[in-house]
């Protein structure tokens, strides 16, 4: 398992480190680093430029054919690069949901579509957004009601989408809609890409329970919006199956995720979120927080709960190694991603709750209060975790998928 050319690998390792020293923001990875506001212009701009630099340096786009801009390297080099990127907590590349589009196109796109759309995504040039959920189609995604009616070489789109992250920065998007009102369920949907500057498209924020002024999620409205037929991905009426690929990629099980060594991560967004809730920071928090004369760390129940989180983190990491290998070898169904998503988000809730128990009365203080612990990120994070177990497939849907598609239990 040791490389035959260890010197070359060590040189690569040094090269990556030097790259990161030069290109990661100042103070990155230290508590002193001030994250940019998620979804702010600065954050998007930095994400785009960093994605391009990573790509130009040859540190991303693995597992994608060179014809579409992918980068080919020996597995040992990829492993070294991943390891160094992860060691620095380097943000996952791709702005917006571009990586989902790559995965989807690789499986379903025409040669033309792949050549047209994938390379700019790899270079970080386009911010992509998603149009799946609707007010009456959440867990039941196949029940989307947005319609598309054919008119010559174009489709006329009408309807509404919700829970779109990065809604206000979207330059291109993808969505699922009903192209046949008479066809049976799962056979009546099609999948499209669209340019957000198209007339008839509008958007507005959706304020979430975290309460921040800049809404992370928004609603999209299609009012006689016209999309060219060439933007349809996969066959007409088969959009449900295309969307399944997208969802698997979203939950962290796609080819791009695997090639990047990332599974179950939720794409917190480049430079937009400080890594919160890492085990080291939990221990530090527990050690510095005193109640009734003893620190939280002095309390064996907190020690046990923190150790459990550390164990689960390693379990997810080790599972990711196994899954990555399975995905690369084609022996994974992709449904495993639902497990990673389920575990990651349910753990997040427990972690968020525990942090609030540790900080006691301070669990009331939000961002904007100078006295808030960690600037309010911990409490904000606790609230956000309530959304993570809902979006991209609720925990209930994830368990259904595991039971039905992996264990083969009967559908209801």
């Amino acid at each position: 398992m040791v490389s035959s050319e260890p010197e070359k690998l060590e040189a690569l390792r040094e090269e990556v480190r030097a790259f990161l020293r030069e290109n990661l923001p100042q103070k990155w990875g230290t508590p002193a680093y001030e994250p940019l506001e998620a979804g702010s212009e600065e954050q998007i701009a930095l994400s785009k430029s960093f994605t391009k630099k990573l790509y130009d340096a040859g540190y991303t786009a693995f597992g994608i054919p060179a014809a579409y801009g992918g980068i080919e390297r020996p597995p040992q080099e990829i492993a070294v690069i991943r390891e160094e990127l992860r060691r620095q907590g380097t943000p996952f590349p791709f702005v917006g949901l571009g990586r989902l589009v790559v995965d989807t196109l690789l499986q379903w796109g025409t040669e033309e579509q792949k050549k047209r759309f994938i390379p700019p995504i790899l270079r970080g040039e386009v911010y992509w957004i998603e149009g799946f959920s609707e007010p009456n189609a959440g867990s039941d995604l196949a029940g989307v009601q947005t319609t598309a009616v054919r008119d010559g070489d174009e489709w006329i789109i009408n309807g509404q989408k919700c829970w779109t992250s990065g809604w206000d920065y979207g330059e291109w998007g993808f969505f699922l809609c009903r192209t046949d009102v008479n066809a049976p369920r799962h056979r009546n949907l099609s999948f499209f890409l669209f340019d957000c500057s198209t007339p008839g498209f509008s958007r507005r924020p959706l304020r979430q329970m975290t309460g921040e002024a800049h809404a992370q999620y928004g609603e999209l409205f299609f009012d006689d919006m016209r999309v060219p037929h060439e933007n349809m991905i996969g066959e007409e009426g088969r959009g449900w199956y295309v969307a399944m690929t997208t969802l698997i990629a979203e939950r962290g099980g796609g080819q791009v995720s695997a090639a990047s060594g990332e599974t179950g991560g939720m794409g917190l967004g480049l430079f937009g979120a400080r890594t919160i809730g890492g085990v080291d920071s939990l221990i530090e928090l527990a050690k510095k927080t005193k109640h009734y004369g003893q620190t939280a760390w002095d309390d064996s129940s907190f020690r046990g709960r923190i150790a459990q989180i550390a164990i689960e983190n390693e379990a997810m990491r080790a599972y990711g190694m196994r899954l990555g290998k399975m995905i690369m070898s084609g022996s994974a169904s992709g449904n495993e991603a639902s497990m990673a998503k389920l575990t990651w988000t349910e753990q997040g809730k427990r972690r968020g709750d525990m942090v609030c128990e540790i900080i006691g009365a301070y669990s009331q203080l939000m961002r904007g209060d100078s006295r808030a612990v960690d600037g309010g990120d911990l409490v904000y994070g606790m609230l956000m975790t309530r959304g993570t177990t809902i979006f991209m497939g609720t925990s209930e849907i994830c368990r259904n998928i595991l039971a039905e598609r992996i264990l083969g239990l009967p559908r209801q």
Partner: protein, 384 residues
């Protein structure tokens, strides 16, 4: 002396009346208006409640009260939780009214209780400091003798409804001895005095405002000492004790409403061509929510009865209720958000109001971990 759970006829009437009043007077539009308001207090609502006799519910008639009992009070508070009612009722009546009733001199009772009862004043307790815990070692705020009275200096944190308050019951250290529980004194301070600076805290639960309050040489008369000089700690413990029972009652209201909203949604929301309440995993979660709230109610009623009867089990009962209701309200409101799906995560849906109020109440005066430790120590002591 038998402890009776459930409601008698009079109590049922009180409950119905309270629910109807709050449905009319504190709809969610009102609640959200108060959430956006810096002070979060409606003098109109305050007056209307006073007319119903709520603030003075448990005060004797001689002080303008209705001479009802602690159990009756928790019935009101449960309904307030159910309505996520904003405003300083809890601060005024529970944190200040009750200790004056229990520990105040006749003069003090005559001075303050009627004003509370008739809705003339709003009060609050300023006890916590930087640690956020009610623990004597953490109490450093000083009261120094000055002339006939004292001068207060220091900062109090997590003071509820301070900007609405006319009076603050302030816990200050008047002497320092080996025993940190000795030398704490409670002063009734005019909140409008010079030298008091209030800073809004940016809180999660906007239905219960909190402030950091800085005191700079604020004068207070010795006649405004509630209880004994240096003897404030047992009063603070008694406040925590009764407040815990009241917070539990609120949590029962919060949790039951969150559960009912969720069960209604499960019967209404369609996905996959059926109402989602058909799905067994959601049903089972609803069943667990129901059980959590039934047991919460049982413990809360038992605790309230024990407090009312001054039963020897009361401290244990209150800690048990506080711990269990806190754990339950967190479980139920979390499940409430989850079972509502995306809509439950929005600001516009009301579920997060319950989620956040539940968490305030769980944390205030010690969460489940704290009370379980108290219970464990007490159980151990009982063994010996």
């Amino acid at each position: 002396m038998a402890i009776e759970l459930g409601l008698n006829e009079e109590q049922s009437m009180l409950k119905t009346m309270a629910r109807d009043f709050l449905a009319t007077e504190t709809p969610k539009t009102f609640v959200r208006e108060m959430m956006d308001d810096e002070v979060g207090h409606s003098p109109e609502l305050w007056k209307k409640m006073a007319e119903l006799g709520w603030q003075g519910l448990v005060f004797p008639e001689e002080y303008g009260g209705a001479s009802m009992n602690f159990r009756d009070l928790t019935i009101l508070c449960e309904e307030m939780g159910r309505a996520v009612m904003p405003g300083p009722f809890y601060s005024t009546v529970i944190l200040v009214g009750l200790p004056i009733l229990d520990f105040g001199s006749d003069e003090q009772k005559a001075e303050f209780l009627p004003k509370i009862a008739n809705g003339e004043i709003v009060c609050t307790l300023a006890a916590l400091e930087e640690s956020g815990d009610l623990w004597a070692d953490d109490l450093h705020f000083r009261a120094l003798p000055r002339g006939d009275g004292y001068a207060l200096s220091g900062t109090k944190m997590f003071v509820t409804d301070a900007k609405a308050a006319d009076y603050m019951l302030v816990a200050a250290r008047t002497r320092r001895t080996q025993n940190p529980e000795d030398g704490i004194t409670l002063f009734m301070v005019n909140a409008k005095e010079w030298g008091i600076y209030m800073d809004n805290m940016t809180v999660m639960d906007l239905t219960r405002k909190q402030y950091a309050v800085r005191f700079t040489d604020v004068p207070v008369s010795a006649s405004n000492i509630i209880g004994e000089l240096h003897g404030g700690w047992p009063i603070l413990q008694q406040i925590a004790f009764k407040a815990s029972a009241v917070l539990s009652a609120e949590m029962v209201g919060v949790g039951e409403m969150a559960m009912e909203m969720t069960v209604a949604y499960l019967k209404d929301r369609m996905q996959f061509g059926v109402v989602i309440g058909t799905f067994q995993a959601l049903k089972h979660k609803a069943a667990d929510m129901y059980a959590a709230m039934e047991y919460s109610r049982s413990l809360m009623e038992w605790a309230a009865e024990c407090v009312k009867e001054n039963d020897r089990d009361a401290p244990m009962a209150v800690s048990m209720a506080k711990s269990y209701c806190g754990d339950s309200v967190k479980f139920v409101t979390d499940a409430g958000v989850q079972l509502h799906g995306g809509i439950g995560f929005t600001w516009d849906h009301d579920m997060h109001l319950y989620f956040k109020r539940g968490r305030y109440n769980d944390t205030a005066f010690g969460d489940g971990n704290y009370h379980k430790e108290v219970i464990a120590r007490q159980l151990e002591a009982n063994l010996m």
